[in-house]
């Protein structure tokens, strides 16, 4: 890996932090050239673009400008010292982000006041850029400060809490995506739950099958080649193809075996989706389980045996604790992957957030598409972050 430390030489010029400067310039260019929001007379036509300055109130873009100047100063070698500049970024960037979010919401409210009830306000490309850049600034500042995961998590929780509070205070209610949500409130809750249920019902069996298989791959080198070959084969098949290919045989099975039908096994719906998700989940779980066990130093095992531990004691007290972080990293990969693949499962009638996406695409209703896509992405990112924390916790205090 390359060193993440900033070398001395780079701080001597006028620009101390080129990453920050680049992000800032990108945000400003995006804000200047791309539409910040769009207003459409109804759900199905595309709207009229509005730039950032005309969409926001004077105090809002004025403050954004001041924050931009402050962030710009943070990128320079004077007046702030490097650590001070990083800390300042950690204050200014989230303020910028929250203000952009608030500005969009308040613009939607104002624009809707004198428009028909069918009118729709949606966010434009500039919004995504102007909101994403401060997030990257925060990530970069944390990396430069070498902040530990606990502090980062606390910070992320605070930031997420602030955004959640804005949702709770109905800041965004004017936005099309939230009006879409308001129209589909119950359905959304149901599909969200379905999404989680599909993911969970795939991960359970996948772990139950994958962990022993990973251990088998570790213990029997002969089994490794064929096993990984097969699992990689599953992983390679495009999701939609695998989902679809399971439909026909399952339909035939449930046709032929009444007891399966009684269990709810059908050609379309949750059953093929869960089976496919399990097939996809196996490779990362088995691979990481294997890698986790294989990563336990041979001398550690030799010592354990030499001291008279039984195989069972070695497995539970030495191998599993040392392999656990790697196994959980596999779980992290698989969870994120399953959340994404479940979107596609909507195509075979399994439900989940994907059904909004495909329904929206079918009706050319962009906001409905976003109602499915944005929460899915958020879910994946949050799951990834939580499991990252779990991996960090599972690392034995003494393991390097």
């Amino acid at each position: 890996m390359h060193s993440t430390k900033v070398s001395k030489g780079e701080s001597e010029g006028l620009v101390a932090n080129r990453v920050l400067l680049t992000l800032l310039v990108a945000a400003l260019i995006g804000a200047a050239l791309l539409p910040f929001a769009a207003m459409a007379p109804n759900r199905l036509v595309s709207g009229q673009s509005v730039g950032l300055v005309s969409a926001l109130l004077a105090w809002q873009w004025g403050t954004l400008g001041l924050l931009a100047v402050l962030l710009g100063l943070c990128a320079l070698s004077r007046p702030f010292s490097l650590p001070a500049a990083y800390r300042l970024v950690l204050v200014a960037a989230p303020l910028w982000l929250l203000l952009v979010l608030y500005g969009l919401g308040s613009y939607a409210d104002r624009a809707l006041e004198d428009a028909s009830s069918a009118a729709r306000i949606s966010q434009g490309a500039a919004f995504w850029i102007v909101a994403f850049c401060p997030v990257l600034m925060i990530v970069d500042a944390f990396q430069r400060l070498h902040t530990n995961l606990a502090l980062r998590s606390l910070y992320a929780a605070l930031l997420a809490g602030s955004v959640a509070a804005m949702f709770a205070l109905d800041v965004f209610d004017g936005l099309a995506i939230l009006r879409e949500y308001a129209n589909n409130r119950e359905l959304f809750a149901a599909e969200f739950a379905t999404h989680l249920r599909l993911v969970a019902s795939a991960l359970g069996p996948a772990l139950a099958i994958g962990l022993p298989l990973g251990l088998l791959a570790h213990r029997r080198s002969g089994a490794r080649g064929p096993l990984f070959g097969l699992l990689n084969f599953f992983q390679t098949i495009p999701s939609i193809a695998l989902f679809a290919l399971l439909v026909a045989p399952l339909a035939a099975l449930s046709e032929a075996l009444p007891f399966l039908r009684a269990l709810g096994v059908k050609g379309i719906g949750a059953t093929p989706a869960i089976i496919a998700l399990i097939m996809y989940a196996l490779l990362p779980i088995v691979r990481n389980t294997y890698a986790g066990f294989a990563g336990v130093a041979a001398t550690t095992l030799e010592a354990a045996r030499g001291m008279g531990m039984t195989s069972r004691q070695i497995l539970w007290r030495v191998e599993i604790p040392l392999a656990l972080p790697v196994i959980l990293s596999g779980l992290r990969i698989v969870t994120v992957q399953a959340i994404g693949l479940t979107v596609v499962a909507a195509l075979i009638g399994a439900g989940g957030l994907g059904s909004f996406i495909f329904q929206g695409l079918g009706q050319y209703a962009i906001d409905l598409v976003l109602l499915g896509a944005v929460p899915t992405i958020a879910l994946a990112v949050v799951a990834d972050f939580l499991l990252q924390i779990l991996v960090a916790i599972s690392k034995p205090a003494g393991a390097r």
Binding site: E302, R305, M307, A397, G398
Partner: protein
């Protein structure tokens, strides 16, 4: 007592250990030595049955090891290896507690034992108990490894090149500690190394292996003075055989009485009678040597006694000789623990009789 009888190990039809028979008596420090790949580790690992025995017998005391359940056998024999094999996820205390824990010792007894062992290796218990292996230096980790092997007060200790991966200075310190621990505990030890100096320093008996066969099993002195064959001679190292021999001789064996000068100022060089004499203070500590230089014409005829330029009775003659050469003096004062003069060793003495 550990006894190997016709011990043989075959891998893929090839004997990597062949008919090895030897006996390490109780309290003895046995060393297995030989070139890389000669079967030292294989032999050692058959003793605690980490690998199965192809043929032959191994006795621990009067029990055949194959008649004991392997785990129970291993809990009765300490085992320390080169890379320490410390469990990275456990603290020093937890690592040491492994075998006592497996043997279900009560907690207080284990705790007391951990402190005792850390003290034995001069590791501060308060400081080291809670450290993790990656926080230890190589030497500290190795000490903990040996402490862990000794934890349940085993009947014997097997060590496979335990000091092979530490720097020479630390290795020397660890070897000295090992000697001391051996003296204090009286454990039967089987120690594998490929370093002849280490073997000569530690062993009470050395077994030389070559290509799986036992070539010679003797006390170090006999190995040096009566090597069984050309292989042993070569392996010991012909070039510095004499020096190696001196590394098994101790100053007390060569110590002579020292001439104390009543009136140092009047000492004058007289070849026919006394060549040198010692000036001492009122506590009996030597101050300087008059005469005794290698060459009479050397201007400085008085040599101040310093810490480096002196010997103790338990120093090896190799080291004493080295000091004489370094300081260009024919004799060294021998000091007791209070640094009082109790005798001297001289260059001529080394060349003279066998002790």
């Amino acid at each position: 007592m550990i006894e190997l009888q016709g011990l043989t190990k075959t891998y893929a039809g090839k004997d990597v250990v062949e008919e090895v028979s030897l006996r390490v008596e109780s309290g003895e420090f046995g060393v297995l030595i030989g070139p890389s790949g000669c079967g030292k580790s294989t032999t050692l690992r058959m003793i605690n049955r980490l690998i199965p025995i192809t043929r032959g017998r191994i006795l621990l005391g009067d029990e055949d090891v194959t008649e004991l359940p392997p785990e129970q056998l291993r809990r009765r024999i300490g085992y320390a290896i080169q890379s320490t094999g410390l469990f990275p996820h456990w603290t020093v205390a937890e690592n040491i507690a492994v075998v006592p824990g497996l043997l279900k010792w009560p907690k207080q007894r284990i705790d007391a034992r951990i402190d005792e062992l850390l003290n034995l290796f001069h590791l501060d218990a308060g400081e080291f108990r809670h450290k993790y292996p990656h926080q230890l230096s190589g030497g500290q980790a190795q000490r903990v490894g040996v402490a862990r092997a000794l934890a349940a007060d085993p009947e014997a200790l097997l060590m496979d090149e335990p000091f092979g991966a530490v720097d020479p200075l630390t290795r020397d310190v660890l070897q000295n500690e090992m000697l001391r621990v051996h003296r204090q505990t009286g454990k039967t030890i089987v120690f594998v190394t490929h370093d002849m100096d280490e073997a000569l320093k530690l062993a009470s008996r050395i077994a030389i292996l070559n290509a799986g066969r036992l070539v010679q099993y003797d006390r170090p002195i006999e190995l040096l003075t009566q090597p069984a064959d050309e292989f042993v001679r070569n392996f010991i190292g012909k070039a510095d055989l004499g020096l190696k021999l001196l590394s098994r001789r101790w100053v007390y064996q060569y110590q002579q009485s020292a001439e104390i000068l009543e009136q140092p100022s009047s000492f004058h060089h007289d070849r026919s009678s006394v060549t040198h004499g010692w000036e001492i203070d009122d506590q009996g500590r030597p101050l300087c040597l008059h005469g005794g230089r290698l060459y009479a014409e050397e201007s400085e005829q008085r040599t101040r006694v310093t810490h480096e330029w002196s010997a103790t009775p338990d120093m090896t003659m190799k080291e004493a000789l080295s000091r004489m050469v370094w300081f260009r003096v024919m004799v060294l004062p021998v000091l007791d623990e209070q640094e009082r003069l109790i005798g001297e060793v001289a260059m001529q003495g080394v060349m003279g009789r066998e002790p």
